[in-house]
Symmetry: none
Subunit: 221 residues, 4 copies
Amino acid sequence: MSTHSECGKEGEEKTIRQRATPRQPFDPGRRTTILQAAVRVFARKGFHRTTTKDIAREAGLAEGTLYNHFQNKDALLLALLDGLNETGRREADFAAADQEELETFLPRYFQQRLDALEQGAGDALSVILAELLTNAELRDTYAHSLVAPTLEIAERAFSRWAGQGRLRPEQLELTVRAVAALFLGMVVMRLLGDETLRQRWHELPDALTQLVLHGIGKDAV
Amino acid sequence: MSTHSECGKEGEEKTIRQRATPRQPFDPGRRTTILQAAVRVFARKGFHRTTTKDIAREAGLAEGTLYNHFQNKDALLLALLDGLNETGRREADFAAADQEELETFLPRYFQQRLDALEQGAGDALSVILAELLTNAELRDTYAHSLVAPTLEIAERAFSRWAGQGRLRPEQLELTVRAVAALFLGMVVMRLLGDETLRQRWHELPDALTQLVLHGIGKDAV
Amino acid sequence: MSTHSECGKEGEEKTIRQRATPRQPFDPGRRTTILQAAVRVFARKGFHRTTTKDIAREAGLAEGTLYNHFQNKDALLLALLDGLNETGRREADFAAADQEELETFLPRYFQQRLDALEQGAGDALSVILAELLTNAELRDTYAHSLVAPTLEIAERAFSRWAGQGRLRPEQLELTVRAVAALFLGMVVMRLLGDETLRQRWHELPDALTQLVLHGIGKDAV
Amino acid sequence: MSTHSECGKEGEEKTIRQRATPRQPFDPGRRTTILQAAVRVFARKGFHRTTTKDIAREAGLAEGTLYNHFQNKDALLLALLDGLNETGRREADFAAADQEELETFLPRYFQQRLDALEQGAGDALSVILAELLTNAELRDTYAHSLVAPTLEIAERAFSRWAGQGRLRPEQLELTVRAVAALFLGMVVMRLLGDETLRQRWHELPDALTQLVLHGIGKDAV
DNA sequence: CATGAATGAGGGTTCATTCAT
DNA sequence: CATGAATGAACCCTCATTCAT
């Protein structure tokens, strides 16, 4: 290939044309790079308003490159979901819920999950939650797996109480969901921009624990 | 001038316009018809995957007719939001929260709001919530107004307790949010398809009231 | 998420995209190709009656490709205008109007500009003129720059005469415009299809020069 | 497509026509009202950017009413053209070009036509000119009739000179066009917003006459 | 593997025209 | 005749995806 193609103007650098990007050694992190870029843009603009061009730009790559690592745009969302599930499950595994008193377990657990949101996980959650609310097929497939870890951990946590007869079995089901809902609701309100929650986020573990254990009347006792 | 200007290759015969179905007589509720059709499709497919053609088909109208009643597709979402706000505010006004004991007020309030979701409001909420999570501009403008009614009602409900010194002022803020979150979280879990919640939805008012007032340990006392 | 979200009545199978004709290798002149195609169609059908599909077809490209090179349809018009301006200015620069006797300069200048119209420039001019007459915003921005080159050249051409006191300064302004108008008017009449002008176009340089220098009565003198 | 296809065009006075059903008192000016409204909006926004709704609003009527008086939007333009033609022809008829010396006839004629533009006619001209430049079919049908009156008048005006042998017959053709072009060019430059012309518009009749009769060198003689 | 121009189906929106009232 | 809501073809434009380099 000649170096004097159709540039017309001559004079400037006639350096031999080199591959725009020399062949990179296989980079297993490329996939992660893309995914992280995607989350950032999704969080800013929402999944549907984000174009693949946006993601490519954010990742510093060409648009076509995305398709070497993900089958399509949807796959990015699914990968995000997988990531969130893993995280959730890892935390759940880590917590030895049934080995511990609720009084110490609950705040630690809340703390742990809320911390995760303070870091990047909130962005992903917001995107995924929106899509789950909106996409029936995705919801049928994944909705359960999103809440499941929390439900499981809560169930284990309350199992002893239930075992001791303090909670009737049919109460357990709703109670567990109530605690998960309390947590999830806080997260959603935070995602919706509640300023008070943003400022007092660190107080939540204790506050929620108090509420769960004793209701709002505790202090009055 | 299109009938005069066709020339050369591009010119083609203007197809005679034929009305397939004669239009209906004037309907003052046309705006409502469209809005309801829109919610139904939004709920099925999500806002972004819903086309204006979908909405028109669902409403039994021509696509262009939508634009005689709404400026654009976004306006449908805003109209939805307005509707939800009115609903929320109406309920809030109705409830004489500070005139009543929490024991009776809370379950009644929960009941009222949850009932609304059992009917059509849930569809709208799901759509709007997803969009609020995803659309920063919309969120800045409307997010507060979505949660505000619940927060206000909760604040009024707890005002007496706070007035009696049972809640410190700085507790009030978080407590109120915790109750709102408990409620919101339940709704979201329901929207995400939780089967247990769907079946035992009618038990929630009492169960949530118990939790709020006494925590999970109530039965043990 | 379109592959996951199709549900209910609206869902239909995604048609597999098949490229009809493999695209051409990278062509740096693609922008020019498009622009030239656009002028041709504009000239045939007028700007507003020309669809982007028309242009694409004329250029042998897909419709979307236009938008890789021009921001929108209007940008094609502006690019046309820029081209015309450059042309006009180049000619103006070339002509050493104030170095030469009017008797030799004028016919040469007329010849030069009229030749340009015989080639492609007339199409562009016709389109742009129509739009300038019709689009106030465009007119405010560009109208002056369209006539300016001719006015400038005419001013320079008459400067010596004016300097020698043969034209009073306040005459210069109108005289210059009269000559520009004479030229412009001829062009417009030609664009409007005057058959006589088409046939005797080559006589114009001399005829106009005679008129400008001596009026219609010259021969009688 | 005939220029007279509009309903009831054949009768000059509409007083003869009497509706059998005088629900509204028959208003022969309604058509004129609409046409004038149309010109105003066309002049502001251009023909293609003007919607029938715009015209209806400007005329203070409902959109459908337009179609009781004009077959379609194009017909408004044709009616405009007819009006301009009549005007032009009336002026041409009025002027006794061949009965008068050029020195007095020319400035009076220029004056007359330029005055017309100072009033409303310029708006219509600008719209029609743009469309003629742009619409081949319309151009073929009407372009000649737009310039014809001026050409005819000029021909008659110069006929004596030609008859006296001062202009060779083949010169006459081009000379006539040159004068028409001078006039037309001035109008176009004015329409394009030339500020100088706007301010010194009243000087044109004399200035143009001088140029036509003696060329730019007259004063120097 | 990376690139990014090309693709074209499909989206939201406009608007001339119709017609029941 | 006047009205104006309804119509739907057609427009401009977007953007996920492909593939030659």
